[in-house]
């Protein structure tokens, strides 16, 4: 599902291995450029909202994992994030990648992981 990288990595070559190495797998191959006004937590929420509608809902990690991630992300976007939220999201992301039935669930958290890696302070700013 792709990932996001900060401005400092903008010279990363556009190939599978190089992108994978920085934690932003190629995904469907589309490239989006955002400026500093983009809320990266909203971005992660946007992708997961799209993916919960795409998910078939058959396997538990993907169906329930995205459900719980979206609740936490909604809280953080509303400025109601709680201590420990990031750790819960990381645990869910790890289990989804490891145990989902298909690639949708296995890669659904790529955008989330990318933003947690490079834009963590945007999450932390909304967690009190």
């Amino acid at each position: 599902m792709g990932g996001s990288i900060p401005e400092s990595l903008i010279d990363t070559p556009l190939d599978f291995d190089a992108l994978k190495k920085v934690g932003a797998p190629m995904g469907a191959g589309a490239l989006m450029v955002m400026d500093e006004d983009t809320d990266m937590v909203e971005m992660a929420k946007f992708f997961l909202t799209f993916l919960t509608n795409e998910s078939c809902g058959k396997c538990v990690p993907c169906r329930e994992g995205i459900r719980q991630l979206l609740k936490i992300l909604a809280d953080i976007c509303d400025g109601k994030g709680k201590k420990g939220d990031i750790e819960v999201m990381e645990e869910i992301a790890e289990v989804m990648s490891a145990a989902s039935l298909c690639s949708l669930g296995k890669t659904a958290t790529d955008p989330l992981r990318g933003t947690l890696k490079y834009f963590r302070e945007e999450y932390e700013a909304n967690i009190h």
């Binding site: 078939c56 809902g57 058959k58 459900r67 645990e91 869910i92 490891a98």
Partner: protein, 205 residues
């Protein structure tokens, strides 16, 4: 079909070709938890609770044991740190739907899963599909089916078919790991056949 020798939790196990890791483990009295598996039905792979680690030619990966076929010299580990982590979270996700489920509470104790880690969800159903598949595969009637997808997925009785078949069957009720199925049936019955008195629609529980 020949016999295959594999290793499960350090124990050498002989299994028939074409059987699954779960079947091989059970034949050797090695316990792997399951929620969506039933010997009468085709393997499904939905709950992912039966996840185990397999190692083949030096490569390790996580697979669901109810679907993964045995292969020669396969090394299976049913309790690794990652396997336990997966099972704990799956149970916590599902206990948010069915906090009173007896089989899930027993497993929660084993894996340290907390039933109130996630807020209570509106639907009791954990979507294991046992009722849906039993009705389709064994009874060949397809009275219950899945509708919608993603987080909106749910089970549904088709009222016309339920009215015709369920009264004399109800064989799927005891398969359900939650208490949801009977309630869903009563609701369907009440909505579809409001003229029938409730006692008659009840199944005597």
């Amino acid at each position: 079909m020949g016999d295959i020798t594999l290793e499960i939790d350090g124990k050498s196990v002989v299994a028939k070709e074409g059987t699954t890791v779960l079947e091989a483990a059970r034949s050797a009295d090695i316990f792997i938890p399951t929620l969506c598996h039933n010997e009468m039905l085709e393997p499904y792979g939905g709950c992912r609770l039966c996840t185990v680690e397999v190692e083949s030619r030096g490569r390790k990966k996580l697979v669901v044991s109810c679907l993964y076929p045995v292969e020669p010299d396969l090394v299976v580990r049913t309790r690794t740190e990652m396997v336990d982590k997966v099972r704990k979270l799956i149970l916590e996700f599902l206990l948010a739907h069915a906090p009173d489920s007896v089989p899930m509470n027993a497993l929660a104790a084993e894996y340290g899963a907390k039933k109130d880690r996630f807020a209570k969800e509106a639907s009791f159903c954990i979507l294991c599909g046992l009722c849906v598949r039993y009705c389709a595969e064994v009874k060949k009637r397809n009275v219950i089916g899945f509708v919608d997808q993603g987080a909106k997925r749910e089970i549904n009785f088709i009222p016309e078919l339920a009215g015709q078949y369920c009264w004399d069957c109800k064989e799927c009720f005891p398969l359900c790991p939650t208490s949801y199925l009977q309630a869903a049936y009563h609701l369907t019955h009440a909505i579809a056949f409001p003229s029938l008195p409730l006692e008659k629609a009840s199944i005597g529980v």
